[in-house]
Amino acid sequence: MKKYETVIGLEVHATLATKSKAFCSCSTEFGGEPNTRCCPICTGMPGALPVLNKQVVDYAIAAGLALNCTITKECKFDRKNYFYPDLPKSYQISQLYYPLCRNGSIEIESSEGRKLIGIHEIHMEEDAGKLIHDPTENSTLVDYNRSGIPLLEIVSEPDMRSKEEAIAYLKKLRLILQYLGISNCKMAEGSYRADINLSVRLKGEAKLGTRTEMKNMNSFKAIARAIEEEEKRQIDLLENGKSVVQETRRWDDSKNTSFSMRTKEDASDYRYFPEPDIPPIEISDQWLHIIRERQPELRDEKMARYEKEYDIPTYDAAIITESKFMAQLFEDTVALGSNPKEVANWLIIDLLRLLREEEMDIDEVSFTPSHLCELIEMIEEGTINRTIAKEVFEKMFKDKVDPKEYVENQGLSMVSDSEVIRSEVKKVFADNEKSVSDYKNGKTKAMGFLVGQTMKAMKGKADPSLVNMIVKEMLMN
């Protein structure tokens, strides 16, 4: 059917979650007043020297091991030279000749099944500052808070053939980095961004077509659309007897189209050479051993363990482990004694619904495992019924209420005093004589209506099974 095949390679930049910057002791915290998180080193003052933060290497090794890479025994930094106002030294400390990690892979799963995507290399580098254009003043300001924050660049092989595979790869990679605890990968803050290299070729053709590159994409939706449009654009060119130009393109998500930024001819020569200020780093077996010992449980392992240890369905385990945060919430709540399936249900059904409605990220959740545990306990003890519980859960989620206090203060405990219920049923019977006689004439369905009316009259706080029992008993008499 399809005549063409799309070939996609991805370069991902992930911000490492180290406390301090890659080459100085400034804080890496996101935001802050402009130019308050910088020093002579990360602003490129004359005479300042970079000193490597070892944690950057620890994190990069962790990523390399998790992605099945070979770790370079003696790795070096190189300078990438170019002029831009956000780059204070006019060179970026990066790695070209001896990147830390090589030849890895990630297994992805898409509608076309499981597939191994090759990792060409992973290298460490530093981020640049941020330019802020002031249109009213017609000037540009620079904030160097981000300058020198460590990044990992993870370069895949051109192994993906569709946008689904590309997205599956990006999601899987993000999850691995998050599980490792080495990057928070917040796309909205730019801490996880991708460059798309894409070419098309006739199916069965062995040679790769001419590729284009789209830089700094930071939402899955935009990436999917950009891939789709670029496939179309390149196929159109080829179909019309034209050829694809090797170039860098900028994706404009609002216009759903991309523009040429620069072609290969006017690409700059970065004059890479070994960084003389940072001695080569020797990665000893002992160092690797330490990192290996420290590696946390990754998603696939966790999923398998949940199914086995907590006896929850694969589907539940998959959803819960899709975010390390939710997995932690799940495990912590279960550890407090709650029933695993019950906890899973609250997270998968109720929590995810609320997150969707409020357009929030999972890591913005502020209730604690003990709150969720208390809530489940109150249901099991019969203090509240499920309807009330859902209301309490929403309050916990939105207003951070303590569930026990809230139930108490709002008087939401279930009424299980049969005398109180009996007097309420009497009133309901009096108001609904027809239903009572209907029941007595054999219309058994009328009982359900009477139970519902009683619950409603008691504002949902009555123990439903008790109400059921009492209504039945009084109808019989």
């Binding site: 002579p40 004359p46 005479g47 300078r79 106002p85 204070p88 200020d277 940072i278």
Partner: protein, 488 residues
């Protein structure tokens, strides 16, 4: 008591400790001389008169409180080359680009000097961004040689050498990327030591070529040089290339004895192009070592003829990257004329950087460009390794190597003529040592027929400063202390 300013730094330090002279008196004497001689020599870019007096009071108090008993140079006025950052004090690297640049921090060496109670009396003149060997490329005009003001003091640490030789400072800091401490020390008849790369922190040194740049000291004699080197040496967590050693004690090697030391004379060092007077002085010096019981013999080095091209390829490459930060965006010179960012870069750099600097940056840019990287940069790195290995091999047989510091004494100002043989020799003496990262000292060993001083160079193995210090000290004792400049 001698006149204050003609004392050695250690003598003055002793007198200050003994309360014979107050720090303020020392500063006053020094400032008077500077005021008298600066119009002629131009050793300084910035003289810190006011600061020096206030430092003097502070240091005097610390001395009186007994805080500085460990520091033999407390209260002694000294000079810092102007490519070393001093907090709140203009640091220009002798460039228009940084003519008004005021650092927000002290270089590690400056912090160490302050800790030791040094009085920084001024920032010395130099070749722009340390690129040159005559101090003529300074944006602030050339420095003159105190032995003969028609001659250059050498460079790039020309101001630091002239200040010490002209008694405008008791000792000084210089930097040596390809001979920039040793050559001016030789030209000005003083002692200059360049320690092993990694011994002294480069944090706060405005980089020229990072893998070669080394901070060292210049003094009126070996002891002054060594005492001040001891103050500034040490591992620095702020410099990744700084090396951690168990000891940085050099003064213990001020021993007047070379008996049994094995000294090599590289045959190449004494080749064609060497000035006759210098050859003669060098051979006489060798005889002195023999007489004192050292075993001196000729030896061979290899690849020395490639030291100059390798040095230029590497130093210019690193410089082209190191100096890219001077773009007119954050600090330094910014052009008045620009429409866009490209103009801002081009005009600021064209107007703010001098010719020699631009020439080297262009060479560096070319060497690093993808078309030439393999042919030039890569090859230079290989040669550097071969030169290193050649020295290492020599140090398997010798404790130190000996030779001239320069093939000729100080040339006249504006006389840039130099034949290729001389250039090759000076590359051997100076740059090859930096390429190998070795420690070397230049000490005065005579005066040529035009009345200009001659330097003798002693080269040691990595982190074996002690051998060259001991040999230099012994030689100096034999010569009867420092050579005198009658003009001063």
């Amino acid at each position: 008591m001698k006149e204050i300013t003609s004392m050695t730094a250690l003598d003055l330090g002793g007198h200050i400790k003994a309360k014979n002279i107050s720090v303020t008196e020392a500063v006053k004497a020094q400032i008077e001389i500077i005021k008298k001689r600066e119009p002629l020599f131009n050793s300084y870019i910035t003289v810190l008169e006011e600061e020096a007096y206030s430092q003097a009071e502070e240091v005097q108090k610390r001395i009186d409180d007994g805080e500085l008993s460990w520091s033999p140079l407390a209260g002694v006025p000294m000079a810092v080359k102007d490519n070393i950052c001093t907090k709140n004090i203009k640091t220009t690297s002798a460039s228009k680009m940084l003519a008004n640049y005021v650092p927000t921090y002290d270089a590690t060496v400056v912090s160490k000097l302050k800790e030791a109670g040094a009085i920084i009396i001024g920032k010395t003149n130099m070749d722009e961004f340390a690129m040159g060997s005559s101090s003529e490329t300074s944006y602030f005009g050339p420095t003159k040689n105190p032995w003969n003001e028609k001659h250059v003091p050498g460079g790039s640490s020309g101001g630091s050498a002239a200040a010490v030789a002209g008694e405008e400072a008791f000792y000084s800091l210089g930097t040596d990327t390809g001979g920039s401490i040793r050559q001016p020390a030789a030209y000005c008849g003083i002692t200059g030591i360049k320690p092993t790369y990694g011994t002294v922190s480069r944090y706060g040194l405005i980089a020229y070529a990072s893998s070669l740049d080394t901070i060292g000291t210049l003094g009126r004699n070996v002891s002054d040089c060594v005492a001040s080197l001891e103050i500034i040496s040490g591992h620095d967590p702020l410099d990744g290339s700084s090396v951690e050693k168990s000891s940085y004690s050099y003064t213990k090697s001020l021993i007047d004895d070379v008996k049994g030391m094995k000294i090599g004379i590289p045959r190449d060092y004494m080749g064609d192009g060497l000035d006759d007077d210098i050859r003669k002085s060098t051979l006489e010096a060798i005889e002195i070592f023999r007489r004192r019981g050292a075993i001196v013999e000729e030896c061979d080095l290899s690849y020395m003829e490639y030291a100059i091209p390798a040095y230029y390829a590497i130093s210019c490459s690193e410089a082209s990257s190191n100096l890219s930060r001077y773009d007119g965006v954050r600090y330094g010179y910014r052009t008045d004329e620009y429409d866009d960012i490209q103009d801002l870069y081009m005009n600021s750099r064209s107007e703010g950087l001098g010719m020699e600097v631009k020439r080297r940056l262009m060479i560096g840019g070319l060497v690093l460009s993808s078309d030439y990287y393999e042919a030039y940069y890569h090859k230079a790195i290989k040669i550097r390794r071969l030169i290193q290995e050649s020295y290492m091999k020599a140090f398997e047989s010798y404790d130190l190597l000996i030779g001239p510091t320069t093939p000729k004494s100080a040339p006249a100002i504006n006389d840039s003529s130099s034949d290729s043989q001389k250039r090759k020799l000076s590359g051997m003496y100076s740059s090859s040592i930096n390429l190998a990262g070795l420690p070397a000292v230049s000490i005065p060993c005579g005066i040529d027929k035009s009345g200009l001083p001659i330097g003798l160079q002693l080269i040691g193995n990595h982190f074996e400063e002690n051998n060259i210090i001991r040999a230099a000290y012994t030689f100096e004792s034999e010569m009867g202390g420092r050579i005198r400049n009658e003009k001063i």
